[in-house]
Amino acid sequence: MTAPLHEPTAEAAPGAAEEAAVAATDAKAVQGRSLGRIAWERLKRDKLALSGGIVVLLLIVVALLAPVITDLVGQDPDAYHQGLIDPLFSTPKGSLGGLSGDHLLGVEPVNGRDIFARILYGAQISLLVGFLSAVVAVVLGTVLGILAGFFGGWVDSVISRVMDGLLAFPQLLFIIALVSVMPNQMLGLTGTGVRVFVMILVIGFFGWPYIGRVVRGQTLSLREREYVEAARSLGAGQFYILFKELLPNLVAPIIVYTTMMIPTNILTEAALSFLGVGVKPPTSSWGQMLSSAIDYYDSDPMYMVIPGVAIFITVLAFNLFGDGVRDALDPKGSR
């Protein structure tokens, strides 16, 4: 599983940053359209990307309100409903996995927990891990990438070798290994808390080289620009140039890579939980639901379809939105 961060994004980045530079310098003189404004106007015309964005927003709201929504429908993700299970086959009674007015998406085989409630709570884990690990990757990647590109020399050599090394690592294997040796108690967290925390750190750690490479490349070309020279000749310090002159022009590629990284991270979290090294029961997660559904793929297919579709919709929405953002920030990619 290599990360699906494709070449076109890397190609998109220089153009986007150029536009950022152009937008920044032309902003007041010409017509006052900022990069964000231009991108937003492009994004508004992209119906697919917009619908992806709306689904993403909805998902976030639903995940945040999971306790409220489950209360409203009167379900608890951990309550057993063994009366709804056929004692002979241990699958739900009734058709479509025990779907009913009470249990909107049916109940689980064996112990009859409400699937709707578990899917909502699973969304919390997926989105939390997806977002926060992307934040870890972006922060590490941006800081190290900008340092490598700006200072060059041995700083660049060390950081670049580390990035190459990490990219050549069998990542999924190492993520699994690291997550599985972590203790159950750490930094005052226990059980699920530790597992989520470790997953965020580890997934984020293996993700930073993708952003780091792009930021480094961008910084390399930007640091020779006239405006940097101008700032330097006016007596600006290293860190002023780094964070006030260079960083604002790196925002476009960073945003693009972040939006494209979140769905990958969500898939990785689901994969880890599927393999039994991520979130453990009774906490619900989509990957873990799919893994317990393996045993029932013939007798209760709905149990497998629901979490699978949940993952699919979430990742597709993020991908559509991410593609839209990339196109919007990239002047070359006119459709």
């Binding site: 494709h6 070449e7 190609e11 040796v181 994969a271 793929y297």
Partner: protein, 332 residues
Amino acid sequence: MLAYLIRRLFAAAVMLVVIILVVFSIFFLVPKWAGVDIATSFVGKQADPHAVEAVREKLGLGDPIYVQVWHFFKGIFVGRTYAAGGDVTHCAAPCFGYSFRSEQAVWPVLTDRFPVTLGLALGAAVLWLIFGVAAGVLSALKRGSLWDRGAMVVALSGVSLPIYFTGLLSLAIFSYGLHWIDGKYVSVGDSFGGWFSGMLLPWITLAFLYAAMYARITRATMLEILGEDYIRTARAKGLTEPVVIGKHAMRSTMTPILTMLGMDLGALIGGAILTETTFSIPGLGQAVLTAIKNQDLPIILGVTLITSLAVLIANLAVDVLYAVIDPRVRLA
């Protein structure tokens, strides 16, 4: 060219050593830092202290980490004997360690499992290269057409579907529902036909995922290349469209595809963990997953080494192929 190869091989060897050190640290230092005793976890929670001490002595777990790493390297070349009192276990060279969980040497496990995974990865790669690249090229040539939009929607869905879901779905539909294919894994040695039909679903689901990625990248690269000057030149000098596309544009399009292929194939050969789990294929991925759950370090080390080796070799092969495909690339 030769100097380049030697330098690359040297870098690969260094990388392998680094990877071994990292694996050792993950499984020896992290538990120590977390306050978990490895010897105890090997024997079991309610073990008596004598048994724990015996294991610690036999496996050399009490030695400093550099001694343990050294014994591991030495074992690969000259074999290794584990002894504690009268209890002696010999592990012949090439000894990649001995798993005391499953009472077997690691090397035979690797040689057993490797061909299984290799078959899975190569079969899927053939499928995804053919369909992914073809779909991408067609989409790029008929940009904006119904075909292009349809193919890209399918491709975007493909990259958004986890393999453990499409795999289960295909098993439920084609194996259980329609009875077209028996989804059980059969070893090649037992029956070639059985192996082939058992591998069809894994190949197709795995290829679908990757074909989707390859189609997206092929399309994007092809579109970019079609805008280049040398393509205009080729057209201007009167070459037919098939020659312009097939000979001139395809060459440059293949470069990023090859990079991806090297990485993906390397990673897959090292263990298609998710696919093997979904379809119960007894390959390297399944072996390493079981080993991780049992904290069976020797097996994890062995598989990690093979995986890293596969990734490194695949990347090296790709870099050499670059020079063949793209005359602008000089290996120096």
